[in-house]
Symmetry: C2
Subunit: 297 residues, 2 copies
């Protein structure tokens, strides 16, 4: 049975934030995870009933701690009786040359895809880690198996993690009850961050056709799930420099939604003056937890 080592247990918003770590066979490294358990789980003396799970995928450079400390999602998750799982953003300590040379590739920048190019393909397999190993480890574990409901899982994320949330949701109909994103990279095949990540993890010779399989705007066009039930919530700040620099391109995601007639299923809110930081995430976090709660009930 998969097991997690508990590094810290922190009381917050009536529940507990557990900082845990486990050995990942997918990345070949230890992986840190933060898990927020709401009050119904941590304060019940007898065996509590299972709670649904919201997975939060973090952005470039982040660890599980950044959003746990600054995103303020726990306040809303406690209210809605939802657990939050904060995975890490890449393997750490894989000891690959160049791994730590830039903030937007390698450590802290796994992009939630499975690398196919050497030397990254052995460890940088965050798509398989997030969609297969981590959930099976959590739901199969002594610590979390009895309290987390494997059949009620939603996903959200910020920036690179918003790309992760949107693409993993669109690739895997039925895996997640709902999706939302804060300032997501919506069209990475047309953005510098995406181009650098895809050409690095998939190789210089990988074509854009390969890249499109991991691009939310392209995946929306070929979404095989129930289009009538699609309900994507996206917030983007108009003061976000990465939005201004066209790293995020939510307008392309909206255009694709129109193109395939699912514009009713895609809500992009442009929030005046908001930036890319946790000041933005914490402001709209309650809306995103409430959005997930509608589908996790």
């Amino acid at each position: 049975m998969a097991s997690f080592e508990t590094k810290a247990t922190i009381a917050t918003f009536g529940g507990k934030l557990l900082k845990v770590s486990h050995e990942s066979s997918t990345t070949g490294t230890p992986m840190a995870v933060n898990v927020f358990l709401p009050p119904s789980v941590t304060s019940s003396s007898s065996s509590p009933k299972k709670v649904p799970v919201l997975i939060y995928l973090s952005g470039l450079t982040c660890t599980p701690d950044n959003c746990s400390e600054k995103g303020f999602l726990q306040a809303s998750a406690a209210k809605h009786d939802i657990a939050i799982v904060y995975p890490d953003t890449s393997p750490r300590g894989a000891n690959i040359a160049g791994e730590d040379e830039s903030y937007d590739f390698g450590t802290g920048a796994g992009f939630y895809i499975d690398a196919t190019a050497e030397p990254w393909s052995k460890n940088y397999r965050m798509e398989s880690y997030i969609t297969k190993e981590l959930p099976s480890a959590l739901f199969g574990s002594e610590q979390f198996g009895k309290v987390l409901d494997k059949d009620r899982v939603s996903i959200t994320g910020h920036s690179m993690g918003g790309h992760g949330a949107l693409t993993l949701f669109l690739k895997n109909p039925g895996m997640y009850r709902s999706v939302s994103a804060f300032a997501p990279i919506c069209n990475p095949t047309k953005a510098p961050w995406g181009e650098k990540a895809f050409s690095g993890y998939f190789g210089k010779d990988s074509g854009v056709d390969e890249w499109k399989k991991h691009d939310a705007t392209e995946l929306l066009k070929t979404y095989s799930g129930d289009k009538a039930k699609l309900d994507v919530l996206i917030d983007v700040g108009t003061g976000d420099n990465f939005y201004k620099q066209k790293q995020l391109l939510p307008e392309n995601f909206e255009a694709a939604a129109k193109e395939v007639g699912v514009e009713k299923g895609v809500t992009v809110r442009y929030q005046p003056d908001y930036d890319h930081s946790y000041y933005f995430i914490s402001t709209f976090g309650a809306d995103h937890v409430a959005h997930a709660a509608k589908y996790l009930a």
Copy 2:
């Protein structure tokens, strides 16, 4: 007219967080301050009506940014239409030998008192800065004079800042509408942190009688304000290591309240398992902003 240099303007919770700096004649250094302005101020096209102010004094090592990012007070302040002022915890860059040698004395550890011993007495004058220069600079400034109500000010703080909030409130009846504190140092003359700070800033030869003038537990015994109207809210986590190490001593503050018959005016809530961190502050921040709001209306 006093003026502040604006370093950043950040949209958050419908209002704006301004990171500003000004030249302090009290400390002889530039002083950083964060000011949260609620939506009624930042979104009003015409001249807005003035809003009351909650001053938040931070703990050891903190800058104005720590609680702005992690305390989550802005969410409640926006709801109650209150501005929050986050001062710094000491002068920075005074260039005094030994200033940066320890986390609990010198830079980041001003203790909200006016040092009388060399070499600290020239710059480390945080009591005068917080009670005199900063408010007069804010309320007299072009940027804030028209929107902050100098007649409605409350104070709160964390740890060393809780000591600051309690002592400045008790020393200055009428200056603040209300006071509350998160894990405050309640009896510094009997705690290692306080002994180090007082013997350093007041001098090795300064007696405990001098120290008691800056000790919340002692000040409560001689409080000259309206005892019938006293309503002090304190939260302390039972998992707080500094509480366990007797750095905080809230039980001594409670005992003093009983001793002078103001126990009805002092509420100390011992929060099970909570630690000393912002996970604790953010959890109970809404209660402390609501406590201030009652008196700032």
